[in-house]
């Protein structure tokens, strides 16, 4: 798991479009074009944000077969939970990423039937 700094996560989440990207790709994998349509910003702006999100390991690339036989790259959010606690003179924070472990996938899938 990539080490990431609190400042990086906070500055990422400070961006409204980053949040839209994370929200949209938490539900279904989306391509840069689809994200651009949803968020109402150019694909180059989407790519810039996706790069930063990938560096922080908060977004994962996948490939999706297209009807014309080619593949296209789609993005999936990996951010599950971000928690910040300030208590008794101490600041702690943690970030949970969605797992690709079979057992976790099974647990999630089973409830969706």
């Amino acid at each position: 798991m990539a080490e990431v700094e609190l400042a990086t996560v906070v500055s990422l989440l400070d961006d409204e479009h980053v949040r839209s990207i994370l929200v949209a790709t938490s539900e279904t994998p989306l391509s840069a074009n689809e994200l651009s349509e949803r968020c109402g910003i150019s694909t180059s702006s989407i790519y810039r944000r996706i790069d930063r999100l990938s560096e922080a390991d908060l977004v994962e690339e996948q490939t999706r077969p297209r009807s014309d036989g080619h593949h296209e790259t789609v993005y999936v959010s990996r951010l599950d939970q971000f928690e910040l606690t300030i208590r008794d003179g101490e600041l702690t924070w943690s970030i949970d990423r969605r797992s690709d472990d079979v057992a976790d996938q099974l647990t999630q899938m089973w409830g969706r039937f």
């Binding site: 079979v102 057992a103 976790d104 099974l106 647990t107 089973w110 409830g111 039937f113």
Partner: protein
Amino acid sequence: MLGITFGSPTGFLAGIAATGSAVIGLYIGYQAYRGLRRNSDRSMRWLSIGMILLFGLTYLLAVAGQGLIAFRVVPIRLQNVFRLLVRVTQLAGLSCIAYSLRIATKR
């Protein structure tokens, strides 16, 4: 029973298929158990128990029953008792899986 008789080639193939189902069924059951440990998800407990009953225990009962009868440890008239045990275990396993699905979809 589960078609496990080792006398003929088809019986042998049936035995291999039954063993394959048991292995794959237990693998899914094992992943469900890991899901329970990792996510403390109650539905995974019942899925895991169900898969183990449905594929593990029925297989064991069928093989044990067939073996005991083949080696005349148990008289052949008890074959139906083993059949009944296998069916009851299957029913129990499926009930566990159905219950697990019910819990999971209620979340």
